[in-house]
């Protein structure tokens, strides 16, 4: 599963992994903004962005082929619209659409692949995202793996028992709805179990904060360097 792979990538130990998440978030957002505002027929900047991403992937020690492949998830969407734009006579926009959307996807993948999600969320919180929302997302991610596996088991169990005949379609539909209801109930009771476990360890209504992020000089240097490079490329 995709998130399992990205999660594994994110636990690497390259210099890019070691950067403060805020620095990486700011760098990627700057990249995305510069990319988005680059006019369609500026081929040279697009090439430079590609090289920049490639450099990032290599420094991070991620498998280039795999990253390039996973970035293609956005292509069905963009190729469709690209084709339509092209047929409508706007070939330039079509090309720009496909190239830019691909580069955006790879950039975000690079961010996710060099920053474990809980750390990424901490970075977002430090940049102003409300703590409540960050913690909900954190819990979501924590139980994503567990509950997805449960859902897979349901699918397997259902597949073992279902009939392929048209008559059985309605039963399968109801069966799937029943499975979802059970998954819902199990998830709800799981949340109650979590609450009990929290209470048992003296939880009094507020989550405490453990570690702070440390924005070092190297992070500042990194952010400024990328930022300025991007601005220079854009303004040319």
């Amino acid at each position: 599963m995709h998130h399992v792979l990205v999660d594994r990538w994110s636990r690497g130990t390259s210099r890019l992994h070691a950067r403060d998440p805020r620095a990486k978030i700011l760098a990627v957002v700057a990249f995305l903004i510069v990319l988005a505002t680059t006019p369609p027929h500026a081929a040279v900047p697009l090439m430079i962005y590609t090289v920049l991403l490639l450099a990032g992937i290599l420094i991070a020690g991620l498998p280039v082929g795999s990253v390039a492949l996973r970035g293609m998830a956005v292509l069905p969407f963009s190729l469709t619209f690209g084709l339509i734009s092209w047929l409508a006579g706007d070939a330039l926009r079509a090309q720009a659409l496909v190239e830019k959307s691909y580069l955006s996807a790879v950039a975000v993948l690079l961010l996710a692949g060099t920053t474990p999600l809980p750390l990424l969320l901490q970075g977002l919180e430090a940049l102003g995202t409300p703590r409540f929302l960050v913690m909900v997302t954190q819990f979501l991610y924590r139980y994503l793996f567990v509950i997805s596996e449960q859902a897979q088991h349901f699918r397997l169990a259902a597949a073992c028992r279902e009939g392929a005949h048209k008559k059985h379609r309605r039963m399968r539909f109801r069966g799937a709805a029943g499975a979802l209801a059970v998954l819902f109930a199990r998830s709800y009771y799981r949340a109650e179990g979590i609450h009990r476990a929290m209470l048992a360890r003296s939880f009094s209504g507020r989550f405490g904060v453990l570690g702070g992020l440390h924005f070092r000089a190297s992070d500042l240097l990194f952010t400024l360097a990328i930022g300025m490079f991007l601005i220079v490329v854009r303004v040319q």
Binding site: D7, Q138, F145, I194, R196, A200, R201, F203
Partner: protein, 244 residues
């Protein structure tokens, strides 16, 4: 000596009316390890949830001399630590470090002190190498030990373990057994695994439909209630005659 736990005539009813606990009286002395046996639904886990105030029934419950009432809950929960059956529900933080430090933080320690306690606890259970790992990367046995560390980090006087051998393979069970044998706290162990219990406890209590029907020597209780586990072929001859 003040008993660590004193429960007198505890009653508890579920929302749908079932009497889960029907007049339970129990006490635990310092240093004791007691096994809690009983059929599924007999009230063992329900009973145990009253000891740290998660459930509230009628009757008196006192831990380390403190009545288990709202004002004392934080203090009570520092004295009695609970390891639940489902480790996934217990390890809810993104990393082991954050999870084990959760309890100490709630006790009012600073982040640095909390992490220091967490490291000590993880060393006690032999899981220091997992400090920055995510819980879903751990095996069932590792999760159990980290959950125990999360409880030990609060420096409790009593440990309660609810079906601690669930999902553990034999080596992990043996590992856990040795670990628990080395811990000085008084222990309450809810379990079906009578061999595991007998290796840790000399005293056992038996729950039957919300009542505490026996309290005595582990081996005697197992024999009396025909509660041998794992079930061997010879045992099956007698099980048909059991009344539950």
């Amino acid at each position: 000596m003040t008993p660590l736990i004193e429960v007198h005539d505890l009653h508890f009813q579920y929302e749908d009316g079932t009497q889960a606990l029907d007049g339970v009286t129990f006490s635990l002395q310092p240093g004791e390890t007691v096994a809690l046996f009983g059929a599924n639904g007999s009230g063992k886990t329900t009973f145990v949830l009253h000891l740290n105030g998660i459930l509230e029934g009628q009757g008196s419950v006192a831990v380390c001399g403190m009545p288990v009432i709202k004002e004392n809950l934080t203090a009570v929960r520092s004295k009695i630590g609970m390891v639940f059956q489902d480790s996934d529900e217990q390890l809810f933080m993104p990393t082991v470090r954050e999870d084990v430090a959760f309890g100490p933080l709630n006790q009012g320690l600073t982040p640095e002190q909390a992490v220091a306690r967490a490291k000590v606890a993880l060393e006690q259970v032999g899981m220091t190498h997992t400090l920055d790992k995510a819980p879903y990367h751990l095996s069932a046995g590792e999760k159990r030990r980290v959950a125990l560390a999360g409880v030990l980090a609060m420096e409790p006087e009593i440990l309660v373990l609810d079906e601690p051998t669930t999902f553990l393979d034999p080596p992990a069970q043996r590992n856990l057994l040795h670990l628990l044998q080395g811990l000085p706290q008084a222990k309450l162990i809810v379990t079906h695994d009578t061999r595991f219990a007998a290796a840790l406890a000399t005293r056992a209590v038996f729950f039957d439909r919300g009542k505490l029907v026996a309290d005595g020597d582990v081996e005697e209780i197992v024999r009396h209630f025909d509660w041998t586990y794992p079930v061997l072929p010879e045992d099956l001859r007698y099980s048909a005659q059991r009344r539950f």
